[in-house]
């Protein structure tokens, strides 16, 4: 049983510089065919300062930290029992290659269903470039007990 006292738990801010090579690799991995996501000349021709960070890649940048499962470890959650339940993004502005983004997260809810066989952990993350808000992310993970 996950201790509900973790609701409100805040994670240290982390920063990530967006690298072009990382964006090109992601574009290839998701079979992206729109050249603005991999070809800088195409991105500039479309009016962008550099390669855009695609809509879901903010989630990936947030995972790109020393221990990407740090909060599960902190709460004693076994990775092999975890499923991603929900994910959402609210966008305030676009981010681009060479931007440095900050990620600040906290646990906003913990609850159980099916008599505790399923536990849910909700984690909210705010993404900024300097003082400009870029997006809010919300992840819900499901911990399955058998």
């Amino acid at each position: 049983m996950i201790d509900p006292a973790f609701i409100g738990y805040e994670f240290g801010l982390h920063h990530r510089e967006v690298e072009k090579g990382q964006l090109r690799f992601f574009a290839r991995a998701i079979a992206e065919t729109n050249p603005i996501y991999s070809d800088e000349a195409a991105a500039r021709a479309a009016g962008y300062p550099s390669l855009p960070v695609p809509p879901t890649f903010l989630f990936c940048l947030d995972m790109d930290r020393g221990n990407q499962y740090d909060y599960m470890d902190t709460m004693g959650i076994e990775l092999g029992k975890v499923l991603h339940g929900e994910q959402s993004f609210r966008y305030y502005g676009m981010a681009f290659a060479d931007d440095t983004l900050s990620f600040a997260s906290r646990i906003t809810d913990i609850y159980a269903k099916k008599g505790g066989l399923l536990e849910f952990v909700v984690r909210d993350t705010r993404v900024h470039r300097g003082n400009d808000p870029i997006a809010d992310l919300r992840s819900t993970i499901i911990v399955q007990h058998r």
Binding site: A29, I30, T56, F59, Q68, V82, R90, G93, M94
Partner: protein
């Protein structure tokens, strides 16, 4: 289709993703930075009671993102959310669809609300979601 003439119930151009191979999952693990072994390490997956590795839910979500940015410039997307309702297996071929379910004015712009689905080759829903996009000025 011009965005301003969209009607409730209209479908946006769909997207068919290539079949998911083990290579797809290896590339996505590396490119996304999501190194959870359940998606690439069969031994780990079996130890945790799965028959095989399975796709990252965020891979299917990235396909939905591709469908949206094929349709509107990315800066028009106001929000985008998904719920994972079934596991995407190796060899699945995923199809993404979006349908306009609402159109309204907020913050001085016309917005469309979309219902999103990802289904596998058997038509089973794997991801359901929604998105709000700003339409071009009318």
């Amino acid at each position: 289709m011009t965005l301003s003439s969209l009607k409730l119930g209209d479908e946006i151009p769909p997207l068919s993703a290539p079949p998911i191979s083990r290579l797809t999952l290896a590339l996505y693990a590396g490119a996304s930075g999501d190194h959870n072994p359940i998606h690439v390490d069969l031994d780990f997956a079996r130890y945790h009671g799965m028959d095989d590795v399975f796709a990252h839910g965020m891979l299917a979500t990235a396909y939905l993102g591709r469908m949206l940015t094929n349709w509107v410039p990315q800066g028009a997307i106001r929000d985008f959310g998904v719920r994972f309702v079934g596991i995407c297996q190796v060899h699945d071929q995923l199809s993404c669809r979006g349908r306009i379910v609402d159109k309204y004015t907020e913050a001085g712009e016309t917005r469309a609300r979309l219902e999103l689905t990802v289904t596998n080759q058997d038509g089973e829903p794997r991801v359901v979601g929604d998105a709000t996009v700003a339409l071009e000025p009318q």
